[in-house]
């Protein structure tokens, strides 16, 4: 297995600035929760780096992300809408209370009809064997990596494009 592109995005990055200056054509970005914004921006920069034609439907690329904390930032935001004394459950926040949503956002953006998967793992090193076992005759590359988004000051994405 080898990596053909990689990127590290940390909380020093101003996500909205990067979106405006380097992406800019996907207003759905502003609806996303923090985990999805981090994953989306990192995947965009990674795919720009890969440099192959984009937005062509394909089913031989998997999106496999993992982290320790899932979508905890958005979970807390949704939780705040169901307090007994202030009960207005937000459907738009609830949608983002699943950690695999970020893999779906990347699939929708890029027309990826292949596998999408989220693992909750204690240690980053657990992920590589899982990605390696994902590659197959049918899955020729994996956009995958480690992603954590606790709050605006604490997030990281370390993504690669892996091939056999």
């Amino acid at each position: 297995m080898q990596s053909i592109a990689d990127i590290v995005l940390t909380s020093e990055t101003r996500l909205t600035d990067v979106y405006r200056t380097q992406i800019g054509d996907y207003p759905k970005f502003f609806k996303m929760d923090l985990l999805c914004r981090v994953g989306f921006v990192a995947s965009e920069l990674l795919l720009q780096q890969e440099g192959v034609e984009r937005f062509v439907p394909r089913d031989n690329r998997a999106v496999v992300l993992a982290g320790r904390s899932g979508c905890i930032h958005n979970d807390r935001a949704y939780e705040a809408t169901i307090q007994p004394d202030n009960y207005f459950p937000s459907p738009s926040l609830f949608v983002y209370t699943l950690p695999n949503i970020v893999t779906g956002e990347i699939a929708i953006r890029n027309k990826y009809l292949g596998e999408t998967m989220y693992y909750a793992l204690q240690e980053e090193e657990q992920l590589l064997p899982l990605i390696e076992a994902t590659l197959s005759d049918k899955i020729s590359s994996v956009l995958g990596g480690w992603i954590e988004a606790i709050d605006d000051e604490h997030f990281i994405a370390k993504l690669h494009i892996w091939i056999r």
Binding site: L98, N100, A107, M117, A120, L130
Partner: protein, 345 residues
Amino acid sequence: MILVGSHIITPLGDSVEANIARILAGDTPDEIVHKLPEAGDFANRCVRSITEALQKDAVPVNTTETVIIVSSTKGEDLDLITPAQRICEELENPNPPIVVSNACTSGVCAQIVANRLIESGQYKYAVVVGCDIVTEFIRSGFEALKALSDTVCCPFDAHRDGLNLGEAVATMVFAADEYLAFHPKQAYWHYEAGCMHNDANHLTGPSREGEGSFRCLCEVLEGVDAKDVTMIGLHGTGTVYNDEMESIALYRAGLSAVPANSLKGYFGHTLGAAGLLETILCLRALEERIILPTKGFTEQGTTYPVAVNAAHRHIEGNNDLHFIKLLSGFGGTNAAVRYKRICNP
């Protein structure tokens, strides 16, 4: 890999056999939320189910050769890792747990991951456990999305109007094929194929063409004729859109006439447990050559027909048994697996 053990805990009972007996007897209460009776935390419930599942077979759990895979959407108190670690600690399993959290497809995805880890030689055994707890967090969210029904859900029926939520714990224990050399079996289920495909369409609405489910069905059909598939365990949540989507995917894959079911009327949607619970029950019933019924179904309510039945059916003849399980979920995820019953002469 092969299936060597399984166990379930549901509001209907604490064993696969007890659950099947109640379904076949028509002795299942009409519930809108299927809660497990006892208070018990996530890890305890899983440990209890895993311990039962391991009892009959010679699969060691306190070894590096066995990986524990937990399938859950929200874990306990929104924490996926800590309860999974507790499960490993209590079972004295030295490996770090793998938690699959892939929305409502988690239970099928976890089976696919188990197969990969065994086939790649990383582990000899995999213990896969699925569990979710119906908290106010989950209930309010589904309500806010207007996905819940006020009555017992009725999958694929003309009057379906939403899903019911439910709690269950379900465990499947797998071993590499080599296990048979030392523990010969007269008959067993062999995992044949599994895959996932995204709709690349919408986060909460299923694809209009059933694209991801269609692709999953086509891929797991490789190596077997559609007419030889004994039955398909569908997601069948009872929502208007999900069931319609599945009918389209089945039609496109040439599977409309294959006997199918949805078990959501008995258990509700058990989220991270669903793929395991429903696979286990369908496989066990198939061993008696029975296709479990679909509670709540009376009148076809999808554009394309789906071969579900309100009553259970007996499989005639003695053809090989091929079972497909299909699921779909938020984030556009779809997953399917196929099992074959191997009987030694």
